[in-house]
């Protein structure tokens, strides 16, 4: 089922990254002309030679097939012109950080969102509910780059250098407890920025569902049996209110990744965000394309996982 989807995704990615007029060699040609002092004809010749070296002069479908073949057989995603390294060397570490930050945001926003949602639903129309709802709406309405800018400003005005994942002291140091603590000191900034909107969403979903469930007859039954309210809420209602959140998991990760890209581009954190942005701007096509492709593959896998999880939690769900 997923294989044809993945195939179409790879074709779409390839088409999208081929869309801009010109290629990276056009950029190189312009650089040679302006900085290298070559004439237009000479620069064009060099660019043409380079195209031949990297196979960019071949017809598009050949380029696509070669790219795909190398990915599948050798895990080789092509060459990043900007970094002058194979894409695979550049992308994995950065993508790893992106996925790590996105997953952390995801985890935290799910847990916190669910808890606030439960609180809000069980205290409907009281002051706590109104405060939570107000902040949820603000969280949903604030662009993440604005939060990143504000965070950057606040941190800078307190003398903390924002951006990056490590302080300079630990940048090239081997892993140690100190380095880990240093990482935590840096990573919470993007996590909080990106996680806020997700927390708000989860809170709204949880609140809505739990309110629906609490009006169901079986909850009334549980209450009339004389069960304590805590048992009614947590053992009977919450479990059933969780399903939409799990079903919705597959859609949250792309949301988090989007947020992470924006936040780390603004804060200049060395994750896949700034890399993807500069790859797009300078038409480093294999790097941009590989990132799009890998993220899409992760999402397909994530959706599959969410489906399995749902079937495991709720035995009534059947996939035929």
């Amino acid at each position: 089922m997923s294989i044809p989807t993945l195939f179409v995704i790879s074709v779409v990615v390839f088409v999208v990254i081929q869309l801009p007029p010109g290629d990276y060699m056009t950029t190189v040609q312009l650089q040679l002309q302006s900085l290298g002092g070559l004439t237009e004809a000479e620069a064009a010749k060099v660019a043409q030679e380079l195209r031949k070296v990297y196979g960019l002069d071949k017809p598009l479908y050949v380029q696509y097939l070669v790219w795909m073949k190398n990915i599948i057989t050798r895990g080789d995603f092509g060459f990043s012109f900007q970094y002058r390294k194979p894409v695979a060397d550049v992308i994995w570490e950065r993508l790893g950080w992106t996925i790590l930050i996105a997953s952390l945001c995801h985890l935290i926003s799910t847990l916190v969102g669910i808890m606030i949602g439960i609180f809000s639903a069980t205290h409907q129309y009281r002051i706590g509910d109104y405060v939570a709802t107000f902040f949820a709406f603000i969280g949903l309405s604030t662009p993440s780059f604005f939060l990143a800018l504000v965070a950057m400003y606040i941190l800078a005005s307190r003398g903390i250098q924002p951006g990056g994942l490590f302080s300079q002291y630990y940048l090239f140091a081997p892993w140690s407890w100190g380095k880990f603590v240093d990482l935590l000191k840096h990573i919470w900034i993007p996590v909080v920025i990106v996680g806020l909107a997700g927390t708000a969403r989860n809170m709204r979903v949880m609140r809505g569902n739990l309110l629906d469930i609490l009006n169901q007859p079986y909850v009334l039954t549980a209450r009339s049996k004389g069960l304590p309210e805590r048992t009614v809420v947590f053992k009977h209602a919450v479990v059933n209110a969780l399903h939409p959140i799990i079903m919705y998991q597959g859609m949250v990760l792309p949301f988090m990744i989007s947020g992470e890209i924006v936040a780390s581009t603004v804060l200049n954190i060395p994750t896949a965000g700034p890399m993807f942005y500069s790859a797009l701007v300078s038409q480093d096509m294999y790097l941009a394309g590989s990132f799009l492709l890998l993220v899409a593959v992760f999402l397909v896998a994530g959706n599959l996982l969410a489906d399995i999880l749902l079937a495991w939690i709720d035995p009534r769900v059947r996939y035929d």
Binding site: P143, F146, P162, P244, I261, A296
Partner: protein
């Protein structure tokens, strides 16, 4: 369970409200929702302000003036420097000065003379709906008034923000409308005809939904040639937005059409010789109206946010066209934010607009749509 309850609700509503149109029913439910009304008021106000932006802007916001770069917002006052009360609100003009310690440019208030704010004054000439006018809501007789400060090139920020609202709001509105048209037609075709069409549409939905939206949008908008005019970029962004956004609605409409298609009223249309297109456009789609409204109100705030992100990163709308995202490009550097925090004002308008649409959407959703499952936010 829900199905049964909804049916009963639907029947009750129909029994009680015979003779009232759909719009009347929606309005009756909607006006009970105070947050929804508040959202509506916010949106209408913002739309009105940006539509008549030049009228509300006391200074020409395209005119460059290096002497007025990064002026801080002027405060509207009733009490002057000596503590005397004035009936007419006024501002103090700003005089450029050099800080004796840091030698940086600073503005000092010139408290010698209050500049009274006059209403309905004549000022710079502008064109609106083809009419030329010089009338402005407010202004000062001499000196200048910048209630939200000025930008790097000394242009009035208030005017630019109001004007930028035109692009930010219309791009979202157009994007959402095209999304709804595309999504409902493709969804209806997919559900009505089934078979090959259905398979094709569903695969497309699957592929588009398995991309994270923002990176794909970034890639597509980065592909727009730099040489294109602002208007071409604007149209293309609408197309890209709606092209990537329709799958969610298509899926819902398909489900709805699948359940409606076998019902008596559609069978009757076919029996009486009605064409397929009549069945779809006259009978099936009007039944999906509530879904369309819901998706419309979800999409607009999403698109406003997305446009601002893309334009902020320099991938979306290009100057000289102004949108809220473009205005925030001026706030990318931390030194600028630190020294001139008022360049962040466009963001307040983004938050306000998105908040307004979210409130409005929540209200409309409950009013337009007593049948659907509760949405995520």
């Amino acid at each position: 369970m829900t199905e049964k309850r909804t049916m009963r609700v639907a029947v009750n509503v129909v029994e009680a409200e015979r003779g009232k149109s759909y719009v009347q029913l929606v309005w009756r439910n909607f006006k009970k929702n105070r947050m929804g009304l508040l959202g509506g008021v916010i949106i209408v106000t913002l739309a009105f302000l940006s539509l008549f932006a030049p009228f509300f802007a006391p200074h020409d916001y395209y005119k460059l003036d290096a002497d007025k770069a990064y002026r801080p917002p002027q405060r509207i006052r009733f009490f002057d420097a000596e503590g005397k009360f004035h009936w007419r609100p006024f501002v103090y003009d700003l005089k450029l000065d050099i800080d004796p310690v840091t030698f940086s440019r600073i503005y000092r208030e010139d408290t010698s003379k209050p500049l009274y704010i006059r209403f309905f004054v004549r000022g710079w000439e502008y064109q609106i709906f083809g009419f030329r006018s010089t009338l402005h809501l407010f202004g000062v007789e001499e000196g200048s008034i910048h209630l939200l400060g000025t930008d790097r090139l000394g242009r009035d920020l208030l005017g630019r923000i109001l004007h930028g609202g035109r692009v930010s709001l219309t791009i979202a509105l157009f994007g959402a409308v095209v999304t709804v048209i595309l999504g409902s037609i493709l969804g209806a075709l997919s559900g009505y005809y089934g078979g090959f069409v259905d398979m094709l549409v569903q695969r497309a939905v699957e592929v588009l939904q398995s991309f994270p939206q923002l990176p794909l949008w970034m890639a597509l908008t980065a592909a727009l040639p730099r040489t294109w005019s602002s208007l071409q970029v604007f149209v293309c962004m609408v197309v890209i937005f709606s092209f990537l956004n329709w799958p969610m609605l298509a899926r819902e409409i398909r489900g709805k059409v699948l359940s409606l298609r076998e019902q008596d009223f559609i069978v009757a249309v076919k029996e009486m010789g009605g064409s397929n297109s009549r069945a779809i456009f006259r009978h099936l789609l009007p039944n999906c109206l509530s879904h369309m409204i819901v998706v419309l109100t979800i999409s607009i705030p999403e698109l406003i946010l997305m446009e601002s992100v893309l334009s902020f990163l320099g991938l979306g709308i290009q100057p000289p066209m102004i949108s809220w995202g473009v205005l925030l490009q001026g706030a990318q550097r931390i030194e600028v934010i630190g020294l001139y925090p008022w360049v962040m004002f466009p963001c307040a308008f983004i938050i306000l607009a998105v908040l307004g649409f979210n409130f409005l959407g929540d209200g409309l959703r409950d009013a337009a749509d007593p049948y659907s499952v509760r949405r995520s936010y």
